[in-house]
Amino acid sequence: MSHPTVKELESDSLQSLSQAQVGCDFQIQFVEGPACEQLRNLGFCESLQVRKLANGRNLVCSVCGTRVALSSDLADQVKVSPLAPALS
């Protein structure tokens, strides 16, 4: 999976997982930061879908069918964009 271009990164639709809205589905665009390998091992990989389930000091999200709790500073390292609403 190729990384998004700089232009894409700067697009308005990109936000960190910690800022993302609860209850919505997102697509992971890229993971960057000191803990990115750890995050990828837990399933936070580029192009995968993630649903944010709860906010707080630690937020809860669902990725690859697993619920994962992670601290907000970790969630800051995951950049997501909202999934296009279903066509129907």
Binding site: A35, E37, R57, N58, G65, A69, L70, L74
Partner: protein, 625 residues
Amino acid sequence: MEDSTDLVALAGNPNSGKTTLFNALTGSAAKVGNYAGVTVDIKRGETRTPHGAVLEIIDLPGTYSLEGGSPDQQIAREVLSGKHDRVPRPSLVICVLDASNLERHLQLALEVIELEIPIVIALNMVDLAEKTGIRLDPVKLAEELGVPVVPMQADKGKGIVELKQAMRHPFPAAPDEIGWEKGDAESRRAFGLSTSDLSARRPTAHTSTLSDKLDRVLLHPVWGWFFFIGIFFALFWSIFSWAGIPMGWIESAQEFLIGKVEGLMSEGDFRDLITQGILGGVGAVVIFLPQILMLFFFIGLLESSGYMSRAAFLMDGFMAKVGLSGKAFLPLLSSFACAIPGVMATRTIDSAKERLVTIFVAPWMSCSARLPVYLLLVPMLLGGREGGAKQALFFLGIYVLGTLTAFAVARILRGRLGPDEVESHFMLELPPYRLPQWNYIFRHVLDRGWAFLRKAGTTILGIMILLWAATTYPKLDSEDPGEVLSHTIVGRISDTIEPLVKPMGFDGRTGTAILTSFAAREVFVGSMAQLFQIEESDDEDETRGRIRDRLAAETWADGKPMFTMPAVLALLIFYIYALQCLPTSAVVAREAGSWKWAVGQFVFMTVFAAVAALLVYQVGTFFSS
């Protein structure tokens, strides 16, 4: 059979069901739980293939990746790459993957394939995956990876035979070609994602599962805490109110045996040894077996259902205030049952310093061995009978006090140790809620019960016999029991230590009972029964009730009551804080990597306990006089 000792390693992500599979293959009852990090050490067992060949199976701690990680993950990495000093390189690896979470679990399998060891994929939990709507295609997966794939449900025993078939000689060779660039994490990850998309296609719509709905309540900032406190209160309440019935049975059996021995033997020292020393002393401890079994049962229930990680999640904010993380909560919680598995479980903590601090404070979580002491003393404070909500609340208070002190000390210690070299963050998998695996819970509870009885039959029995001898010899020809006792060895020890323990409100005999309990805490109750010469009688009255009555009537030489409220409180406080468990110190020394930590911990906790007891007694006496 030259190949009879082939080594087979079970590897996989945390909570993928490796230990369940290990138990199913080897017929053992290793501890399983529904949270990441139950297995922190290598477990060994044996199994037979359908052809009769014996294979040695090792269960490795769960790991997400072979690169980086906490101590338990390092073990897995070293074994698989043949760098472990005690374990040879395995001849075959069974990689256990959770079918409902293939995107993530497959990454580890790909890393293992790169090591060029023969590998079989155990595609576990296929039922769960299908329930969530995933369309599984194990054949496609096997084709893509070039290794055998066995779909299975280890907890129901499905697929075990097929797996054993795949484990026969010759072991499946590592694939000649791999579909990604070896050693390149990015290429490997992309391959893993496309393969799982092909062989385990997810439904496009995100469905809200039962676990999602439960989590909405159980992880709620307000309701979550409501349930958290409710669950733990119910746990303590049921332990203290339901155990009464089986305890009565044990008591009747004990009284029956004493009656029998007294009927069969003529009066003399030997009969006293059996009735007072062995049956009286050991019986006073064995009576707590039901409570201990219930504590292990409830903790097993919490672990198996998946609630444990929710509790860790809730506690993380609180734990952060004392410099620990939610991950430290799991070892601390299991220390309520016993500090030894608790200290071992600290291996899942990534930060080395946080781990040391957690090890240091873990014995302050009131373990099951303290229960007998609490059960003896608490009704003395509240007056009257055992059981009821008031006592359950008091018990909860005892556990909270131990925990809060542990947190306070952790905070101070964590501040002194300084920050970690590598920053670590809170990250925890919240597994789906599952129905408990009853057979494992019951086997685990029985194992613990048996361990407790073994301890009662060895350590506690030994101490009881020694104590009986020390309270009997040397003999003195006198009618006054007090004079006789003070002539014996224990009498002399008591006289020596009385000045030391008197400021805490204890006399020499209580001091001696405390001394004997440094070998094992539970001994205290039996020692008190012997030292205060509690007569065993044939009626149905409760022995503990008699110990309490006897203690309540006990006075100092000047006629003042001995076991006043401050004195009993001081005794209770001493037992909450003192570290009186040699096996714990041995495990701490091993896990912390130095005896200095174990000795320091022992000295610190003992001094702390003594000072706290002293303060409680002195302040309490000052205010009550």
